[in-house]
Point group: C2
Amino acid sequence: MPLRLTQYRLCPRSRSIRLVLAEYRIEAELLEELPWEWRQSFLAKNPSGEMPVLEFDNGLMLCGAYSISEFIAEDPYFGANGSASAPPVLIPGTHEDRAEVRRLIDWYHGKFDREVTRELLIEKVYNSMRPSGPIAPDPGVLRAVRANLKYHLSYTGYLADTRRWLAGDDLSFADLAAAAHISTCDYLGEIPWTEYPAVKAWYQRMKSRPAFRALLGDRVPGTVPPLAYSDLDF
Amino acid sequence: MPLRLTQYRLCPRSRSIRLVLAEYRIEAELLEELPWEWRQSFLAKNPSGEMPVLEFDNGLMLCGAYSISEFIAEDPYFGANGSASAPPVLIPGTHEDRAEVRRLIDWYHGKFDREVTRELLIEKVYNSMRPSGPIAPDPGVLRAVRANLKYHLSYTGYLADTRRWLAGDDLSFADLAAAAHISTCDYLGEIPWTEYPAVKAWYQRMKSRPAFRALLGDRVPGTVPPLAYSDLDF
């Protein structure tokens, strides 16, 4: 089942789906798309301009993390391609448990993205890539984003402190989505780890998963992540 | 099954869930929350501060349109409470069809919300309700939002023109989500109907559904929707 994933290295939604594919040990060819370019050929694939886009060899094209993750979650055979150990169920548990998993997926891919990751990427990456010349990050925006990030890290710490995984007893797509956003913020040097020990302990477990390896090896031209970014003992 | 829905009258996500409940003929007590107040008692219910929140009498609390809609969609018995005709399946069709429904739900509740409805509500409603005195809408923001709205209405017109319902042959939650956003924009006088005849014809069908009636009767203090807002022959 040769798949192609159109994605951007620091896009948290792309990262969350890369983590899913890696957990399922599904090989996918990665096509990189630069989100600030708004290329017509990419908009022809996905008129919303959002990433990631997953293409199957039969022509099926799935657009966006919501559509892709639910597609995989509702297909019991998706992961059954010779993997030695069973991959995690993306949206596990009872009917009520699943509502909790989705509440948190929405938290990270919705609220966290809007209030933190999207703004950080615009200020620190996209604006530095402008063909007309880089625009420096706006200190007012960065201040607001960092204030938002505190609330998000506190809440994530509360979840990590009171549960085995963020949504409950089992690893779920909520953990992958949260880890994707936090990994992008971490790449950009924005996570004050020492202030959030419970988040750190949970993220350490996420980072040690084999599925995480490829993400930690990624570099974006013109940027250098903090030394501890790919360190498992950060 | 007495339910309580915490919502705000012009919030498109709240509206989409009110439409779902009405299609399923499920009575719910509506509790109104004013989103610009950020009340502690509401944040205690849903720490993300987002609406709607659906509460069941057994204490189960579902937060956000994603969690609520998927909870209802995956429960085959949810609508089976004496309704004469079967309610629409929220996410109908084959595995592939369902991915298309979800792509469009994400389009409206994600992209359309971020680029249009959320900004319009802030500029035209929330900012006029400030305790420290109203702030007039920013003409630059309104201009950008209206440019975005054109793209969204063109795309919605393309879908309405080429399919029976937005996601395919069957009415789905994608139609309810789209109609919720468009109804809020329409309430605020922002839809140039004559330019988008296919959107108008589709919305006319949505508006004629009995489930739509309660939304069309809603008024927000200090605002007057255009005359045609609640008119079925607009």
